[in-house]
């Protein structure tokens, strides 16, 4: 083998080794929860240490929103389909905040309740015209189809 080829071989094999190592570490890392976004099930399973500030993701349960009359305090229930968690928030809520909407809230646990300091409404990638949405809602009602959307992961 001449020197140029040998050098090229060394370089290529080094790159291959690096890519393999990096890929292995990435696969390991992807198995962990890197965004620190937890769902109510994970919170109730005790995956989040007490006092930790973390993000709670899920859907606002239908009919659970309670607004205090004299302040900006709002209480609602976040659900992921399997478990529910009471959330309390004081402040202005985003426009998209409504029942059955995915939200991402930041805060910490206070006893059994989650006290949020920030509530963000997550918008999904679906865009539907209003008339179509109404027609679909009617059809759902007629056929008694229960509306079940996946919660935010």
């Amino acid at each position: 083998m001449n020197p140029t080829r040998k050098r090229r071989l060394v370089v290529i094999s080094l790159i291959l080794v690096a890519v393999v190592v990096a890929a292995a570490l990435t696969v390991l890392a992807l198995q962990q929860n890197i965004t620190y976004l937890y769902t109510p099930v994970e919170v109730q399973a005790g995956k989040v240490p007490a006092d930790a500030r973390f993000r709670l993701g899920g859907m606002v349960k239908a009919g659970s929103i309670q607004r205090a009359g004299d302040s900006l305090k709002t209480g609602f229930v976040v659900t992921d389909g399997d478990a529910e968690l009471d959330v309390e928030y004081t402040g202005i809520l985003p426009d998209l905040f409504r029942e059955k909407q995915s939200v991402v809230t930041t805060g910490r646990m206070d006893g059994k309740r989650f006290v949020a300091t920030e509530v963000l409404a997550k918008h999904d990638e679906n865009y539907v015209p209003r008339d179509v949405a109404e027609a679909m809602a009617k059809a759902h009602k007629k056929h008694e189809v229960s509306e079940s959307k996946p919660a935010a992961q």
Binding site: I34, T35, L37, L96, V119, L120, N126, V128
Partner: protein, 252 residues
């Protein structure tokens, strides 16, 4: 020689490119402005309002096409930079460097419109979401390429160094694109998909696609205009450039 290869070689010569671009420019600007008008009218007036966001969703007709362009132009710049580094074609250097400011402008539009939409919808102007952060890094990368190009005196060496930086920065492109899948935090996933059905009603989709075409034309027109000027500057001492300058002088 194969006619296609011959045409490619001819395209690489600055005077030929200068004349060809000059002939193409009115068409590109015309098509770009017409499709822009059609797309904006379709998006802002004809498209029905969304069932959740009502009229606020219409910002996607500016936001999404400029986001696509911010990635497309970076890829275009990197490919041209690659050609410039390997085959040292002057035209590719010029095209790569001329596309950087346009890409930066589209990235900025994308960030600004996203921010305007985010305040009422998400409830925040800015959040350190993976998609937003990587798009911001993309803007800084454009600035870095432009800054490096301006800082080196020798024009050809400057464009080669800046092209190299653009190639290094290309690792950011997949991060921007896949960030919504890898770190599923706040930014929604892609609505329009190349493979599989799009998650948007067809009455809302067509203006978006028209806008995507319009931004492509506008980019091409703007790029060719810039590249012509840059080529004239780069080749200022050459005969053809002098002829062009003299002809323009006579006409004026």
């Amino acid at each position: 020689m194969n006619p296609l290869v011959l045409w490619f070689h001819k395209l690489g010569s600055p005077p030929y490119f200068y004349r060809l671009a000059g002939r193409l420019l009115p068409w590109l600007w015309g098509l770009g402005l017409i499709s822009l008008a059609v797309g904006l009218y379709g998006g802002l007036v004809l498209a029905p309002s969304d069932y959740q966001q009502s009229d606020a969703f219409r910002i996607i007709y500016v936001h999404v096409p400029s986001a696509w362009m911010s990635l497309f132009i970076y890829a275009f710049m990197a490919v041209n930079g690659f050609i410039a580094l390997i085959w040292r074609i002057k035209l590719s250097e010029t095209l790569a460097m001329a596309s950087a400011p346009i890409g930066a402008a589209f990235t900025f539009i994308c960030l600004a419109t996203g921010s305007i939409w985010g305040k009422p919808m998400w409830g925040t102007w800015w959040t350190w979401d993976a998609r937003l952060t990587s798009e911001l890094v993309l803007l800084f990368l454009y600035f870095g390429v432009m800054g490096l190009y301006q800082a080196i005196e020798d024009r050809r060496q400057a464009s080669r160094a800046a092209a190299f930086l653009a190639l290094v920065g290309i690792v950011n492109l997949p991060i921007v694109h896949f960030s919504v899948n890898w770190w599923n935090t706040l930014h929604q996933g892609s609505t329009v998909r190349l493979f599989g059905p799009s998650l948007i009603d067809s009455r809302m989709l067509w203006p978006l696609l028209v806008m995507a075409v319009a931004t492509k034309f506008l980019f091409a027109a703007s790029l060719l205009s810039r590249a012509r000027v840059d080529l004239l500057e780069l080749e200022a001492g050459k005969d053809w450039a002098r002829q062009v300058a003299l002809a323009d002088g006579d006409a004026a």
